[in-house]
């Protein structure tokens, strides 16, 4: 019992994360920013939108912009399949969806378990990586959704 308590304290304050898969890697986002997970439905393209914006969807009467997570993270785009999901998130008082390869599970991570992202000549596009956590022998990349887009980009999202 004491050992469990110690282990818990070693992990630091914990939070729950939704994990999803992109290009065979596991990513995690804070569950508190996730509103719901949807199957991929019809996404209406928006002319003139940034390359990482797939389009908009009608979510119970509300227009929600959908971002292709692969494109945003600089990965090869691919067509959605049955496993693909749109994760509806709320960031900076905006609701957007991000298209991912699949949604895996909800996990609990302690703050101490998340190592800061390596600072190795990274460019601007990697600032959204909060850190890396090791789980069951695999590494999970923790994404800071607040930094997924810049302020200007969020403003552009709002204007779509």
């Amino acid at each position: 019992m004491k050992q469990e308590a110690k282990a818990s304290s070693d992990r630091g304050p914990t939070a729950q994360y939704v994990t999803f898969r992109l290009a065979e890697e596991t990513y995690a986002i804070n569950v508190m920013q996730v509103q719901e997970v949807l199957r991929v439905s019809e996404i209406a393209p928006v002319p003139g939108a940034p390359h990482y914006v797939l389009g908009i969807v009608n979510l119970r009467g509300n227009v929600v912009t959908v971002i292709d997570a692969r494109r945003r993270l600089g990965l090869d785009p691919r067509e959605p399949d049955d496993a693909s999901r749109v994760v509806i998130i709320e960031v900076s008082n905006q609701v957007v969806g991000i298209l991912v390869d699949s949604v895996a599970e909800v996990i609990e991570l302690g703050a101490a378990e998340i190592e800061p992202a390596p600072n190795v000549g990274s460019d601007e596009s990697s600032k959204y990586i909060q850190g890396v956590a090791s789980r069951e022998g695999e590494l999970t990349i923790v994404v800071d959704l607040n930094k997924l887009l810049s302020e200007d980009e969020w403003a552009e999202m709002a204007s779509l």
Binding site: A23, L73, G74, P118, N119, S125, I129, S134
Partner: protein, 274 residues
């Protein structure tokens, strides 16, 4: 043949080998088809000044390279840690041992005292989005998340004609924070300090401590390399963003295309442009 003439020839040959070795790490000339660095060509060059061949016996008191803690997180520490201006680092001031490793046709040597281990290139490597092409990703080793780098992308000039690397081993350094992916391990060399042509000035390649003509290899200054890796301060590094996780799971013997061609069969991330 007089003794002086013989000595001159020896000096020329040694200089030729040195120039050849250096050329492997130098920038590619602008010629469309640069000539192969054949030693004979260099031998025809004017006689070198003997001063260049003299191993500098005593160097102005250079600050010893300090192995900092938490260097990856501390840019301030990196700034404090000075690059040796010339001559051997502390570990090279007496007889020392180096481990040779093959990288893209070149043999690089790292001082044993600065190594933390060697592991086989893991089956799985986790690439990180938005990082430089030379950063292959993270691997879990014991309680460390080792940052694995493709050293060939760093030490070889862009556009090098050397073929793709098939990394099979990872050499751990800087308290296992960093791993150098290499094709193979060659040998452990015991070197006398005067057997090394220490660089008189680190210049644009501060991580290059010197060259060993006998073994035709370049010696890396691991401390400086780790420092520069943590800051990403590579003047000649390929600015193209890496597409991480193209194939995060690799198999041994996989190739990395240093030309950035991005062949689909390469199971490690290349520097594709988006």
């Amino acid at each position: 043949m007089s003794e002086s003439r013989q000595q001159g020839v020896l000096l020329e040959e040694r200089q030729a080998l040195t120039e050849y070795l250096d050329s492997l790490l130098q920038a590619i000339p602008q010629e469309p088809h640069p000539p192969e660095p054949v030693p004979q060509v260099v031998l025809e060059a004017p006689v070198v000044t003997p001063e260049r061949e003299v191993v500098q016996p005593v160097v102005a008191p250079t600050p010893p390279v300090i192995e900092t803690q938490e260097i990856a997180r501390s840019e301030e520490a990196a700034q404090v840690q000075a690059v040796p201006e010339g001559g051997p680092p502390e570990w090279g001031r007496s007889t020392f041992q180096c481990l040779g490793m093959r990288v893209a046709g070149l043999t690089l040597a790292v001082p044993l005292i600065k190594l933390n281990g060697i592991i086989e290139m893991p089956e799985e490597i986790t690439p990180m989005p938005g990082h430089k092409p030379w950063f292959l990703g993270l691997v879990q080793h014991l309680d460390r998340k080792v940052k694995v780098v493709d050293i060939a992308r760093i030490v070889l000039p862009e556009g090098s004609k050397n073929g793709p690397t098939s990394p099979r081993h990872v050499v751990l350094m800087d308290d296992s924070r960093w791993g150098i992916a290499c094709e193979g391990i060659t040998e452990v060399m015991t070197l006398e300090t005067d057997a090394v042509r220490w660089r008189s000035s680190r210049g644009k390649r501060p991580w290059l401590a010197g060259t060993v003509i006998e073994h035709m290899c370049a010696i890396l200054d691991v401390d400086v390399l780790a420092r520069d890796l943590s800051t990403g301060a590579w003047g000649a590094s390929d600015p193209a963003p890496v597409k991480p996780a193209l194939r995060g799971k690799r198999s041994n013997g996989a190739a990395i295309d240093h030309a950035g061609g991005g062949s689909p069969k390469h199971p490690l991330p290349n520097n594709h442009k988006t």
